[in-house]
């Protein structure tokens, strides 16, 4: 009886990961013929970078020769600590400027584009250390995310009739997103009263308020319990199903395996490997630099 149940459970888990949505199948099919080598060109890149270099003093934090992100896919960016993943995020979104190189979003060069303008272009990021605006309510956090608000000009702010209608639409959209991310019961609480996991959810849903085409998540699963990880996984897959492109930094290899269509591996500022999750987990360079030869085994096994 018990053994049967266990097997059933395992089966259930198996079907969950193998049963691909329509968009996932399309994304994987598009990437199937792409050669698994660093800097390879993608059939339909939404973001591309070439020769991007950034050094802090004597240390070269990022030195990316070529990289492209496939539109409509979930791409994971992995690598050891200090590999330059977050710096790369900062460079792409304008929070930091590279010493050299060019990078583009939707074919448009992002050189000299200020950080705040990238969100309007359809590119939004989250942060490794969650930035919830603690002394504002959850709904205010959400409403802040909407771009192109008339009332955000101070002279319009004085004339409620000019922004009240738009505000209602924004509020409705916020409520819808809060329901989807199961934060609707915290709607009117201060964001500072949320738990760590809830803050991650809030940050992600707030980012979605900008109506992005590319969502860049910096360690969305850090410090999140397994059950919530499952639902976060579903949420991220949901983004792709809605036509968004996701690029995320993560250390949890199970999750990377589960949801990503393509994996990019960074080490010491360079991109050392690219490929589908299966290709990556058998790539000797990745095992050396990041996964370690004991990957998949319990830490106690060797003792």
């Amino acid at each position: 009886m018990d053994a049967e149940n266990l097997e059933l459970g395992a089966d259930g888990g198996e079907t969950m990961t193998t049963e691909l949505s329509e968009t996932a199948r399309v994304a994987r099919a598009a990437l199937a013929d792409v050669a698994p080598e660093p800097g390879v060109a993608k059939p339909d890149p939404i973001m591309s970078a070439a020769g991007v270099r950034r050094s802090f003093g004597g240390i070269t934090a990022v030195d990316v020769e070529r990289v492209e992100i496939q539109r409509g896919s979930i791409t994971a960016l992995i690598g050891p600590n200090g590999a330059g993943k977050t710096t790369f995020f900062n460079l792409m979104t304008g929070f930091d400027t590279p010493d050299a190189g060019s990078w583009a979003f939707n074919g448009k060069s992002l050189e000299k584009v200020a950080a705040h303008k990238t969100a309007g272009m359809g590119m939004v990021r989250t942060f490794q250390l969650t930035k919830s605006l603690t002394k504002m309510s959850v709904i205010e956090n959400m409403k802040l995310g909407a771009t192109g608000q008339t009332g955000e000009k101070w002279w319009n702010g004085l004339l409620p009739f000019r922004w009240k209608a738009q505000e209602k639409l924004i509020e409705a959209r916020s409520d819808e997103l809060l329901r989807r991310f199961k934060l609707d019961h915290m709607r009117n609480e201060y964001a500072g009263t949320l738990s760590g996991g809830q803050r991650k959810l809030l940050e992600m849903s707030r980012a979605l308020m900008t109506n992005p085409q590319l969502v860049m998540l910096d360690e969305p699963m850090a410090g999140v319990n397994p059950a919530l990880k499952q639902s976060l996984n579903q949420h991220i897959k949901g983004l792709r199903d809605e036509g968004m492109t996701v690029l995320f930094v993560e250390h949890d290899m199970d999750m990377v395996h589960d949801i990503s269509d393509w994996v990019i591996v960074m080490a010491e500022g360079r991109i050392i490997a690219e490929g589908t999750p299966d290709q990556i987990s058998t790539n000797p360079a990745v095992i050396d630099a990041y996964l370690g030869s004991h990957q998949g085994k319990s830490l106690l096994e060797d003792l």
Partner: protein
């Protein structure tokens, strides 16, 4: 000793205290605090140069007759221009940097401005350390109050005409409604009939204000600035209140919490900070205008560092990031200050030109009373920070959340 205290002229002390509540000082501090609240309370900008913005207004109206030889009313647009330029000079180099840099630059620039206008080199333009006189006549002749008369705030006083009576009663009613709402929100318990509680609170507040008003009276000359100034404070308070309810205010509060997050959501943080700095400065400029109109003169040393920090103290006392806090804070600040001053001075006289307990004299000279009062302000601020860091109107729940 106890008998001595009971003999003090309590009526006079009460009159001085209550008059200070609504007096010129409270009025011009309130306007400056409303402006500082936009910068410090909502946007989190540490502006330590508010006195500089106030000086912009004062010198703008002063220079109209003294240097430009144009009508006094041009002083208002000139004041706004000065404040915008001053804000840009402060903001452009610092607003991209961390908050501390703004604090350093603002305090320095306000001082530079003061030293510049009091310098001998520019005496022709700014009047040097003597300042500028004789520009307030236009304003004084426009306001419908008689210099020679004294004006009481009590609506049924003989000095008031029937129009004034009705206006004052109306004003008191608004104040009572406001006070009633705050009292109900703060003190009503679960399960009580809120309408009833609020009704009782409003009626009690109205009675209280009426009783207070019998004590409050001003000389006609300063009454002009007081009336115009408080109307201005109310308008500017409403202006800030509406702004902070709008999406613009939401962005500002977001910036106070975390700039980077707001930037990632597509808002130009630099531009918003600049807007907040300049808007707050333009509001503060009216504080300088009203103060100099009451004085009838502009003096550089009225806009020194201590004014900035007193305004900040008054704002924190009332509660930052609350419009009501920025108005009531300065009233309480000057009320307490003048109570301490008058009380200690009458005690000093009553006890035979000294104040001391158990043979230990700690005031033996009337000029020391002022210093004791200053010390009390410092103590008050320390106690406030320890026991009620959110100020009187601030939100305790908000305060308890950690900054990040």
């Amino acid at each position: 000793m106890i008998a001595g205290i009971l003999d003090l002229p309590f009526n006079d002390i009460l009159r001085a205290t209550l008059s200070a509540f609504f007096g010129v000082n409270a009025m011009y501090f309130a306007i400056a605090a409303i402006g500082l609240n936009v910068q410090f309370g909502y946007a989190g900008l540490l502006n330590f140069g508010q006195a500089g913005f106030m000086a912009c207004g004062a010198y703008a109206v002063g220079m109209t007759t003294h240097y430009f030889h144009i009508s006094f009313w041009w002083g208002i647009p000139i004041a706004i221009t000065y404040a915008v330029v001053f804000g840009l000079i402060m903001g452009i180099p610092t607003l991209r940097l961390r908050a501390d840099y703004l604090a350093i630059v603002t305090i320095a620039l306000a001082e530079v401005l003061r030293l510049l206008v009091r310098s001998v080199t520019f005496k022709k333009k700014f009047g040097g350390s003597d300042g500028i006189n004789g520009f307030a006549e236009t304003f004084r002749s426009v306001t419908p109050f008689d210099d020679a008369k004294r004006y009481k705030m009590y609506p049924f006083d003989a000095s008031n005409g029937s129009v004034a009576t009705v206006l004052l009663l109306l004003l008191f009613a608004v104040g009572a409604l406001f006070a009633g709402r705050i009292l109900t929100r703060r003190f009503s318990k679960e399960g009580q009939n809120r309408t009833l509680v609020q009704g009782v609170a409003t009626v009690l507040s109205f009675g209280f204000i009426l009783v207070i008003s019998t004590y409050v009276e001003y000389a006609g000359l300063s009454f002009k600035a007081i009336v115009v100034g408080w109307i201005l404070a109310a308008i500017l308070g409403l202006f800030v209140y509406m702004l902070m309810k709008s999406p613009w205010g939401r962005v500002l509060k977001g910036i106070r919490e975390d700039e980077e997050a707001v930037r990632s959501l597509g808002k130009s943080v630099y531009s918003y900070k600049m807007q907040a700095l300049i808007l707050g400065g333009v509001i503060a400029t009216f504080s300088g205008i009203m103060f100099s109109l009451d004085r009838g003169s502009v003096q550089p040393d009225n806009y020194s560092r201590d004014v900035t920090f007193y305004v900040l103290t008054a704002l924190v006392l009332g509660g930052a990031a609350k419009v009501s806090g920025s108005i009531v804070g300065p009233m309480l600040f000057w009320g307490i200050l003048s109570f301490a001053d008058v009380f200690l001075n009458s005690l000093f006289k009553e006890w035979g030109n000294q104040i001391g307990i158990f043979g230990w004299k700690f005031v033996s000279n009337s000029s020391q009373v002022g210093m004791i009062v200053q010390g009390m302000i410092g103590l008050m601020l320390v106690l406030l920070m320890v026991f009620r860091p959110q100020g009187l109107f601030g939100n305790r729940k908000e305060m308890a959340l950690d900054g990040r």
